[in-house]
Symmetry: C2
Subunit: 228 residues, 2 copies
Amino acid sequence: MQINTIAFDADDTLWVNETFFRDAEDHFCLLFNDYIPYEECQEQLFKMEMRNLPMYGYGIKPFTLSLIEAAIEITNNKVSTKQISELIALGKEMLDAPVQLIDGIENVLSTLSRKHKLVVATKGDLLDQERKLDKSGLAKYFHHIEVMSDKQPKNYTKLVNHLDIKPQEFLMVGNSLKSDILPVLEIGGHAFHIPFHTTWIHEQVAEEIQHIHFKELAKASEIIELLK
Amino acid sequence: MQINTIAFDADDTLWVNETFFRDAEDHFCLLFNDYIPYEECQEQLFKMEMRNLPMYGYGIKPFTLSLIEAAIEITNNKVSTKQISELIALGKEMLDAPVQLIDGIENVLSTLSRKHKLVVATKGDLLDQERKLDKSGLAKYFHHIEVMSDKQPKNYTKLVNHLDIKPQEFLMVGNSLKSDILPVLEIGGHAFHIPFHTTWIHEQVAEEIQHIHFKELAKASEIIELLK
């Protein structure tokens, strides 16, 4: 395995993310508990997010807009402006939340950056991801940050071409089988999966992966041993 | 002038953009005309956008969120859910609007792309700008699209380093003096200004520019002559 560049997913690989979305979802469903049972609310919200995804893409601003639209739908137009203001504030709190690093990640990046080119490969909102990278204090370990509108095989091909390397010299590390692992294996790259305790339904994959370029890790520090 | 790479701003340089925002603003201020005079409404909305800019960044989704927040403020919480739904729909219409190319731009890109590397350098939303580039049919003329979270000198330095050229080999073409011209001149690049009939207040600059690396053009086709 001759790895030139290691790309790290950001959300739930470098820092905690999904937890904030689940907390916001929880807040939302409690707020409208008079109108709809909790689990049904979660389903409705997820459906709204999926309906809006092709138009809005990923990130906190699309999520905030979906919260507002779902609130109008769930309450059958009875949502108060106070509640809508609360949803807008919820979105802003998420944008402004401090960055919580994944345990031990800085040490891993510091070690790996001595022998490899490291990049961040993330989807979501450009401004938001740049801000989190700044706040994280991890920017110094990365050659650059690649914010992708989606993580399809074609997006990774573009990234690999852009890095001017062969797919087999590329290693992707991330928590989502769907976004970080499967498309990278498909284009001939290597992929290490480090599960995070919470995974958004949209990112869940049922199948089990068996591939010579694939490894499942419990924590990021295992990468150091594997690349020795 | 030895230009290696020409970067084009996208909104109001390749395709019409500001017009859609002004139309939406017009729609908004007519909708709440019972609460606030038209011009005051424009001011309030602009203030809201500026207040949210550091948090939200540029683009249609931030604009939609600001419309909703401004509506709550302007109506003193009396905005109806029907009106909020109308604002959400307005944002979606903007995201889904057909791309209107600036007159003659395709011919210019086709000619310039034979001898120069062309890139798109735009701020705003990654997904939205990629979608517009796809819809525009102009993607084939560009080496890549660079979506920047902001257009400060440091962002251009990053782009020029990334392109692996000297600033004096870089030419930026755009409609905004503030975003496309001044920061590029500051880092030693060349910049051609092609005004669009409408400029957002936030992008307006009072000063007149005198610089050996600067030219003001009436239309993009003049670039071809100037680079001969």
